[in-house]
């Protein structure tokens, strides 16, 4: 390692072999990286460019230190001025908490910024989730970074930011372990927990800490099949059940937690044989066969979700008013039995319809999106909001069945939904619409989606991609719908305005 320098672009260094480096600002670790894997060729050396997630903080002066993770050798230390150079560089989140970048270069509040007293609520949460799982018959243990920290030094890993637990099912077929995971979810919900499903074999349990903060703990399911352990989200290794059961214990921050019988074998499966050597920039690289198996068996339930989660995790703008689209729908409809907005987002249209006296239901997969509308509607008994993920058939069928049983005429709208989803999600949408609308009460589906991307930035603002009306019409007809109305309109009078298509569809009779 030689020629290490730091500037507004990033960290430059020459090295014959791959090396893991930690970067500190004013004594606090900010990011770790592999020089050659994460860097680009730069003259006779390498350049690790500052990640996008860090760049907005780079204004001011800070003492930058670069250290070789493995040896602790300091290879650079200097006072560096970024941007205007005024003030000290502050890498903090909206709440002023110090943040750093994790191995995927995402911003996190890492454990190394917490005192041990501040870690207690998380340890309590782990205890609580493991106990809850035990109550529903599942023997869970510490996993991934949490297990690694415990076994390596009895402490959480400084650059880690969340806690993971895992279990290995006694069942041995993907279908059975998925059904078991559904059962666990059901029983945890009955115990009062909120669950967000990642895949058919992994989910997040939200635990409320004493101060009201919600902490999400990841629960990864696994099972043994044909002499292999398959464990979400990265493992498919030759393994023996006796390396897991009977569970042993390990110590984390002075407290005892369940651990697999052979922690060395499981950590080797997770992090490779060199798991004892710290590597804050470690990337999981399971073989293609493992990725294909886990993808094929268990994944595909949250395609495109990360993007929307990110959008709704920011501070949300002021609650929007009703859309011109819903005003158009309302102008054509009389009194309804039920109004349903699929992909309701912030929930403004459902709120509007309920204020007009229509019993309304807003559906969106991200509850944060409609949280404000929901809290505003507490004294308005006419509107409800439910989470719905179109990629989870159980949710689609149950929601469809409930609405289908309601008396009276039903109107379903989906504004900028078919232009934000792909065919698998749309197929579930059409199925649910048919359930809701093909009954005796009758009803209609109103759609609005982008068909021409203008120069007005409309597509970006609504985060949609244009769709061909003929394609959407063909899908609907395949699902037994009749198109009653079709028009294309400009979204504004501005020259170069984007255009949207409005469709009205109907299902006449129940045909299964």
């Amino acid at each position: 390692m030689s020629g290490v320098s730091v500037d507004g672009q990033g960290v430059r260094a020459r090295a014959r072999n791959e090396a893991v480096l930690d970067v500190f600002f004013d004594g606090r670790r900010i990011v770790s990286f592999w020089l050659q894997r994460d860097g680009v060729r730069d003259g006779d050396g390498w350049l690790f460019a500052w990640p996008k997630t860090l760049r907005e903080f780079l204004d001011g002066t800070t003492e930058v230190r670069v250290v070789v993770t493995r040896t602790g050798q300091e290879v650079f230390r200097d006072e560096i001025a970024f941007g205007s150079g005024r003030g000290r560089v502050a890498v903090v989140n909206q709440n002023g908490q110090p943040i750093s970048l994790d191995k995927y270069l995402r911003r996190v509040v890492a454990f190394d910024t917490r005192t041990s007293a501040e870690l207690e609520p998380m340890l309590d949460a782990i205890d609580e989730v493991i106990a809850a799982l035990r109550e529903v018959g599942i023997e869970a243990f510490l996993a991934y970074g949490t297990l690694l920290g415990a076994v390596r030094g009895g402490k959480v890993i400084g650059n880690d930011s969340d806690a993971d637990v895992a279990y290995v099912s006694h069942l041995t077929h993907p279908v059975d372990v998925i059904r078991e995971s559904f059962r666990i979810q059901r029983e945890l919900i009955q115990l009062g927990y909120r669950i967000t499903r990642y895949s058919a074999l992994a989910f997040k349990v939200d635990v409320e800490e004493a101060d009201g903060t919600i902490r999400g703990l990841d629960v990864f399911g696994g099972f043994m099949m044909n002499g292999h352990l398959y464990l979400m989200g990265e493992i498919g290794d030759p393994f023996q059940e006796s390396w897991i059961f009977p569970l042993g214990t390990t110590t984390l921050e002075g407290r005892t937690f369940p651990a697999p019988a052979d922690t060395d074998r499981l950590l080797t499966a997770m992090y490779g044989a060199s798991w004892r050597i710290p590597d804050p920039a470690f990337h999981f690289e399971p073989p293609a066969t493992t990725v294909r198996r886990l993808n094929g068996w268990f994944r595909g339930l949250r395609v495109g979700r990360a993007r929307w989660d990110r959008i709704y995790s920011r501070v949300l703008k002021k609650m929007p008013g009703p859309s011109p689209f819903i005003q158009w729908v309302a102008s054509m409809e009389g009194a309804l039995g039920t109004y349903v907005d699929v992909g309701c987002g912030r929930g403004a249209d459902a709120l509007y319809m309920s204020e007009r006296g229509e019993p309304s239901l807003g559906l969106d997969f991200q509850p944060r999106a409609f949280a404000e509308a929901q809290s505003r509607s507490t004294d308005n008994g006419l509107v409800t909001y439910w989470p719905l993920n179109l990629l989870e058939i159980r949710q689609v069928l149950a929601t469809g069945a409930i609405v289908a049983r309601r008396p009276g005429r039903t109107v379903v709208t989906a504004r900028h939904l078919v232009d934000a989803t792909k065919k698998p999600a749309r197929d579930r949408l059409w199925r649910m619409c048919r359930m809701m609308l093909a009954g005796e009460g009758g009803g209609k589906l109103y759609l609005e989606f982008l068909v021409k991307d203008g120069s007005d930035g409309y597509a970006g603002k609504h985060r949609v991609r244009r769709r061909k009306p003929a394609k959407i019409v063909a899908e609907l007809e395949q699902w037994g719908a009749k198109i009653e109305h079709r028009e294309t309109i400009a979204v504004s009078d501005v020259p170069g305005a984007s255009k949207v298509c409005r469709l009205i569809a109907e299902w006449r009779a129940v045909d299964g």
Partner: protein, 97 residues
Amino acid sequence: MGEKSGPEKSGAEKSGAKSRAGKNDSGLVARLRSTRAGEALDLRRRVRRLEAEVQECRALNIRLAELTDIVTELLLPVAARDEEKLAVLLEKYRQSV
């Protein structure tokens, strides 16, 4: 660690249209196919298609589990024809998924 989202569908459909071998092969194409390189190319294409088809089959695991879950939790009680109980059950099921 975080969780990944996986592909909703494999590329199975894409590979279908590529090689409609047989009928219109000219003599040259047939000769090229019979060479070692041609055979290797053909095999590679077939393996790709097979991999995609295996993924399609694997995806059935989730479907089967989802549908079995609904059948055991909902349809069996439906057979009892108790309207009130069914409404309660449906709502409870929706909240649990």
